[in-house]
């Protein structure tokens, strides 16, 4: 990342554990990283299930479940990357992804249970310090 980057920071609290919510996570993290912004993602709640080595099938919200196949087909036709590919691209451009230590503990997940997308397991204070003076989104 250019040393004199003055483009600010985007921090995303990824809380939702449903598959649809992971799309804006990927898009916004990748776009912000491409805009030379510092990007921090703090993964907590059921969203942690998207980041385990043993993959979990992320559910769709019940009210949109019937539309999921059409959405998947549309995304394929438009050649939209899967969310994890977008996040990996964001990380290549400098984005950092952190798992919430408390929720990981509650869900019985250790650092070794997370895949390579997770840079570290941290507490809320670490995230808040990193998010300071930037924009924060809650997904």
């Amino acid at each position: 990342m250019p040393a004199e980057s003055t483009s600010g920071a985007l921090s995303i609290i990824m809380f939702s554990g449903t598959a649809d919510k992971f799309i804006p996570l990927g898009v916004l993290a990748q776009a912000a990283a491409a805009m030379e912004m510092r990007v921090n993602v703090f993964v907590t709640g059921f969203a942690l299930l998207g980041f385990t080595k043993k993959p979990n099938d992320l559910p769709f919200p019940a009210e949109f479940a019937s539309m999921a196949p059409a959405l998947a087909q549309g995304m394929k036709a438009a050649r939209v990357q899967p969310w994890d590919a977008m996040l990996r691209q964001a990380k290549e451009l400098g984005a950092k992804v952190y798992a919430c230590s408390m929720m990981a503990d509650v869900m019985g997940l250790k650092k070794a249970d997370f895949n390579e997308l997770i840079d570290d397991v941290v507490g809320a204070a670490t995230f808040l310090e990193k998010a300071e003076r930037g924009q924060t989104l809650f997904i």
Binding site: P2, T6, S7, V27, A31, A33, A34, M35, A78, R79
Partner: protein, 82 residues
């Protein structure tokens, strides 16, 4: 993404790639570019015109031209700072 670099001018072919692919391809080329270089971006995503303008404003680089062609949008950027 298809990049051909020759003497300070880079062609980035992002045709067929949807948002945020084209500006990501642009950012990857930008990371490799030097001040004074030119990057030419080809894209078909309909959001690319405002997105390239936003990218240039955010990174404080210069748009030389953005042109609608029948089969693609062509943006030419000059790198002013890295």
């Amino acid at each position: 993404m298809d990049i051909t670099a020759a003497s300070g001018r880079t062609l980035v072919d992002s045709r067929g790639s949807s948002c945020p692919g084209p500006i990501t391809d642009l950012a990857m080329a930008y990371r490799r570019a030097k001040v004074g270089d030119t990057i030419e971006l080809w894209a078909t995503d309909p959001g690319v015109k405002p997105d390239v303008q936003a990218w240039a404003a955010k990174t404080r680089n210069e748009i030389v031209s953005i042109e609608d062609q029948p089969d693609k949008i062509v943006a030419v950027l000059r790198i002013l700072r890295r």
